[in-house]
């Protein structure tokens, strides 16, 4: 699996999904092309999916929000006759490396979350119409929708057969959403997750696994009526015209990826990547009309999309680079101005969408299993949205006082209103609230600093950066940090960082990533699943898995 996996999709070349628009309702059909898998060696039969299918889905969901803000309800359904979706492709999982499995699951989980975020952030409601087999990842896809309709044809069922069939977990949110979102009673959930064939008809509704069961002959009409009713009562404001998400400008070089607002330098010997975000070069759009006219070219949107792509690229295609360093360069005042326009018009659909996209991209940074560090050098622009990076990363270093032969403007950090709740983490808190969990009163003090560029001494005192070093110490301290970090076990780093990053309350999201995913990744390492005689490895051969019966 060495070819580069691309997270950008040309909507004209979609292989696995089609969308039909009917005013405020869109019908999203899953129609997986079984011969168009991302890798050789498996066929995507029965609407099973691999990462490529999910990349397209993520793109559809993203475009639905930006390009089709008129859509209030999206009906997710299957274009195939007798199957809704058979879940993640087992042969793909069986042959994939551990790292690919983990990345695959993380990305699919993030995509499922965006389905829910679409309702929460924009009022775009995903509902699901299930006819035919809906198993494993197929049901997890349904679970990510906010209303599930199942046909009552005495055959169609919903199922999570992972445990009995494959000796792994329904790890794309399945176990968590069954109890936390659907609020299925835990003993019934236990039964449901142990039976391969799942639950059908009225019982599926009684157990809360689906919201309604519709007679088969009335299914299509029933789904349509439900979608139209949801659209009619939607609180999403009417918007007639979206903006086009134009293709990203990117260049992949041997040791760099160059975007319009971002440079990614790949230091392979040092096992690190440096992401340099360049602040806006032009003034902020004057008003929302100008913002809309700029469309996907406006700096806030362009930068968010490019950062998202850069992170995904590093996660998936550069897995030996254990350290990601963030740098920024530019005029902090301009960053503040660009963000301020959006904040001032947060009730405008596009301003809202851009701010919400930043929320998602920053979560993606939080969830990245690499050591993350931010360098606040002179000439940088850690203001507002970019300042969030300082509290997303594991550590940050800031240049203190002028450096010799460095005439860039002195390093500063600048807070904006947005840092106090606009870009909430998966735990439901702002990054500052999470950072200062032990000193909530300090947050009020920080509010007083909004709008003031904070120099290194101040930023360090306020706890906004880890260390501030002057030019005598800077180089050595940074070198020592990099070398020390590079010497630690990558596994221990991943585990340590994931534990330290998400202090505070549990949410469904943190439970999915912190609990379900962690257990799944453990099982993905164990011989009972992936050993030569493990169930996942043997699936499809007809021979059963052999288990080590010791409980660990």
């Amino acid at each position: 699996m060495s070819k580069r996996i691309d997270f950008q999709v040309d909507p004209a070349g979609m292989k696995h999904w089609t969308v039909e628009h009917d005013g405020p309702v869109a019908y999203l059909y899953m129609d997986v092309d079984e011969d168009a898998g991302l890798f050789e060696g498996y066929q995507l039969k029965l609407n099973s999916y691999d990462l490529g299918v999910d990349i397209e889905l993520a793109d559809v969901v993203q475009r639905m929000r930006f390009e089709h803000p008129e859509v209030k309800v999206v009906v997710l359904t299957s274009a195939k006759d007798k199957v809704f979706c058979a879940g993640a492709n087992i042969r793909m999982l069986g042959s994939a490396s551990h790292a690919h499995k983990v990345n695959f699951c993380k990305f699919t989980n993030e995509t499922r979350n965006t389905l829910e975020a679409a309702l929460e952030d924009s009022g775009q409601n995903y509902i699901c119409a299930v006819r035919g087999a809906c198993a494993g990842g197929g049901y997890e896809l349904a679970l990510a929708c906010n209303h599930i309709m199942l046909t009552d044809d005495s055959t169609s069922s919903v199922a999570l057969p992972e445990v009995p069939l494959l000796a792994v977990l329904p790890g794309t949110g399945g176990l968590t959403r069954v109890t936390d979102k659907r609020k299925v009673r835990r003993d019934l959930a236990d039964v449901f997750c142990s039976v391969e064939e799942g639950v059908k008809g009225k019982r599926a509704q009684e157990w809360r696994l689906v919201d309604e069961v519709i007679p088969n002959s009335q299914f299509d009409a029933g789904v349509r009526a439900r979608a139209e009713a949801f659209a009619a009562t939607s609180r999403k404001p009417d918007v007639t015209q979206g903006i086009e998400l134009k293709p990203l400008q990117r260049q992949f070089l041997a040791d760099a990826v160059i975007y319009s607002t971002i440079d990614v330098a790949l230091d392979r010997p040092g096992r690190r990547a440096v992401i340099t975000i360049k602040g806006p070069e032009t003034d902020a759009p004057a008003d929302v009309a100008a913002l809309t006219a700029e469309g996907s070219e406006t700096w806030m949107l362009r930068c968010a999309r490019e950062l998202d792509d850069a992170i995904l690229h590093l996660r998936t295609n550069e897995d030996a680079l254990g350290l990601i360093e963030f740098q920024t360069a530019g005029d902090p005042a301009r960053v503040v101005a660009h963000e301020a326009l959006l904040l001032a018009h947060a009730d405008h659909w596009l301003a809202n969408e851009v701010l919400c996209l930043w929320k998602r991209v920053l979560k993606r940074v939080d969830m990245t299993s690499r050591s993350l560090v931010a360098m606040v050098e002179h000439g940088s622009c850690y203001a507002g949205v970019l300042a969030e990076l300082l509290w997303s990363v594991d550590r940050s270093y800031m240049m203190l006082e002028p450096f010799e032969e460095d005439d860039r403007p002195l390093a500063s950090v600048q807070l904006t209103d947005a840092n106090f709740g606009q870009y909430r983490m998966g735990n439901g808190l702002s990054r500052l609230e999470t950072r200062f969990l032990g000193a909530p009163d300090d947050i009020a003090g920080l509010r007083a600093q909004i709008g003031t560029p904070l120099d290194a001494a101040k930023a360090e005192t306020l706890g906004l950066v880890t260390y501030a070093y002057d030019d005598i110490d800077w180089e050595d301290e940074i070198r020592l940090f990099r070398e020390e970090r590079a010497s630690f076990s990558p596994d221990a780093m991943t585990g340590m960082e994931a534990n330290l990053r998400f202090a505070g309350p549990e949410t469904m999201e943190t439970r999915i990533f912190g609990r379900l995913t962690a257990w799944q990744n453990w099982i993905f390492q164990r011989p009972n699943a992936v050993g030569p005689e493990g169930a996942l490895q043997r699936y499809g051969t007809g021979v059963r898995g052999v288990f080590d019966m010791q409980r660990v």
Binding site: D152, D153, S154, T155, P164, V195, E196, E197, P215, N216, S217, Y539, G540, T541, G542, V543, R544
Partner: protein, 483 residues
């Protein structure tokens, strides 16, 4: 009709499973039985329900008891629960449990797999009765009507057999599945039967004969492989069902044969030798051979689809678990585990049809289909002998297994009956040469007029050589109730 309150199960439901002392099953069956009777009563037109039909009833499994002939009204037919006699010290014949004693109870780990197989098998049994429900109205003779009803009541009995297993061995889940077997219905928009071929119409008698020849033969192959099951009650049930299934094959083969015979006789009499002189032949009130070939093409290919994907995980799991074997498992000379064997399977690569060796365990469906193709070829040879004997130059053929397929590797390509991959346009253009057209159907339908006089037959079908139960030619197989 059965008096459900005072039913004496041992006398009214022929069985060799100790039904009257099995409280659990009795209770379940009491609940299920009214639904079944309602299903039956709503199904077949009322005047046939009231008619006296000369039917064979199995009252026990010994040679004297399994074929009792008498007049009976169908709703009063004694559907029984009969298992082939137990084989002493029977052992599991294949898979990872090879050689272990056969299971008399369901092993917990295979409960779902077994249940699913039984439900799928069970779902086909009432399905075909539903498909054939109106054929009595156009029966070409009382003899054929009786055969139709015999097939129908036996499919009903096969449903009973599967329901018994579900109720006896699968607890509450099994009872619910048994109920659902009466909820689904052939061709229903609400809840169709599980397999495609059982939702197709059986619009005329030639379809019925083709169905019993080709589709019931799939049933036979499935029963043969379930008869190998390590779950002994399933094995014994299927072994007994096979004796009845043989009659269905007989109805199919002789039905098509007699149709051909009528055509040949009419052609000879009219001095027509060219089998493709379709209009002239049709004017004689018989079905021309090319149309029979088209019907054959249709039913054969629908039946091939019933074997599922060529490479199948479910089939592999079932074999390895010892739940479902191969055709004539015991006679196959190998290790019956197949963990290191391969089997050639057709595949499509770069627009060509190839065979590839794949792990034999995963190719169980393909192997069963190959056995089916061989089994189905027999009758074709006998029909062709009739045609040759009449001096007509025509040969019926099984089309290539890739022709007109909806399931498996061939479902994505257009294949002609000779096995050439052609473009979808070309295929669509020639479809009418290969499969029955609406006009063909209308013509056949025009011949479907009932013939209810004892000993008389519709123009398009010849009388049988021998009567059922050795009855004479003018025997009144059905005493019609014409209210």
């Amino acid at each position: 009709m059965l008096d459900l309150i005072n039913v004496s199960y041992d006398s009214q439901i022929p069985n060799n499973v100790g039904l009257s002392s099995d409280k659990k099953v009795l209770k379940a069956l009491e609940k299920w039985h009214p639904g079944y009777i309602n299903w039956w009563n709503d199904l077949i037109p009322q005047n046939f329900q009231e008619s006296m039909v000369y039917l064979r009833t199995a009252v026990s499994v010994d040679p004297k008891g399994w074929a009792k002939f008498d007049y009976v009204k169908m709703p009063e037919y004694r559907w029984g629960v009969l298992l082939a006699p137990a084989v002493e010290d029977r052992r599991i014949a294949m898979g990872e449990h090879l050689g272990e004693p056969a299971w008399q109870e369901v092993p917990g780990e295979y409960r779902n797999m077994l249940k699913r197989l039984i439900v799928i098998q069970g779902d086909t049994e009432p399905g075909s009765v539903e498909q054939q429900r109106f054929l009595g109205l156009t029966a070409p003779s009382l003899y054929d009507m009786r055969n139709l009803f015999q097939v129908n009541v036996e499919e009903g009995r096969h449903l009973w057999a599967m329901v018994y297993l579900l109720q006896k061995y699968f607890g509450r889940d099994g009872r619910e599945e048994a109920d659902d077997l009466l909820v689904r219905s052939s061709g229903s928009e609400e809840a169709p039967r599980m397999l495609g071929a059982f939702n197709e119409e059986t619009p005329d008698w030639l379809s019925f004969f083709m169905f019993t020849y080709f589709t019931d033969r799939d049933g036979k192959m499935q029963l043969e492989s379930l008869a190998q099951s390590g779950f002994d009650p399933l094995s014994r049930t299927c072994r007994f069902m096979l004796t009845e299934e043989a009659h269905h094959m007989f109805v199919g083969e002789t039905g098509v044969g007699r149709t051909i015979q009528a055509t040949l006789e009419a052609m000879t009499k009219a001095g027509i030798t060219d089998p493709t002189d379709i209009n002239k032949i049709r004017d004689l009130g018989v079905i021309d051979l090319p149309t029979i070939q088209k019907k054959l093409n249709l039913h054969y290919t629908l039946s091939l689809d019933l074997f599922g994907q060529e490479v199948s995980t479910n089939a592999a799991n079932a074999f390895n678990a010892g739940i479902k074997g191969r055709y004539m498992e015991q006679r196959i000379d190998d290790d019956h585990k197949l963990q290191n064997d391969t089997y050639p399977v057709t595949s499509i690569k770069d627009g060509k049809i190839l065979t590839e060796d794949v792990p034999a365990l995963t190719a169980i469906n393909m192997r069963l289909r190959d056995d089916y193709v061989r089994d189905a070829a027999g009758g074709i040879g006998r029909w062709n002998k009739m045609i040759a004997k009449a001096g007509i130059e025509y040969e019926l053929k099984l089309p290539h297994e890739g022709f007109h397929r909806q399931i498996g590797v061939f479902s994505t390509v257009a294949v002609d009956p000779d096995g050439n991959i052609v473009s979808a346009e070309e295929w669509a253009k020639r479809r009418e040469d290969w499969l029955p057209t609406k006009a063909d159907g209308d013509f056949i339908q025009s011949l479907m007029v009932p013939c209810y006089e004892p000993g008389e037959y519709a123009s398009w079908i010849a009388p049988p050589k021998v009567g059922i139960d050795n009855k004479p030619g003018d025997f009144e197989y059905v005493k019609l109730h014409m209210a």
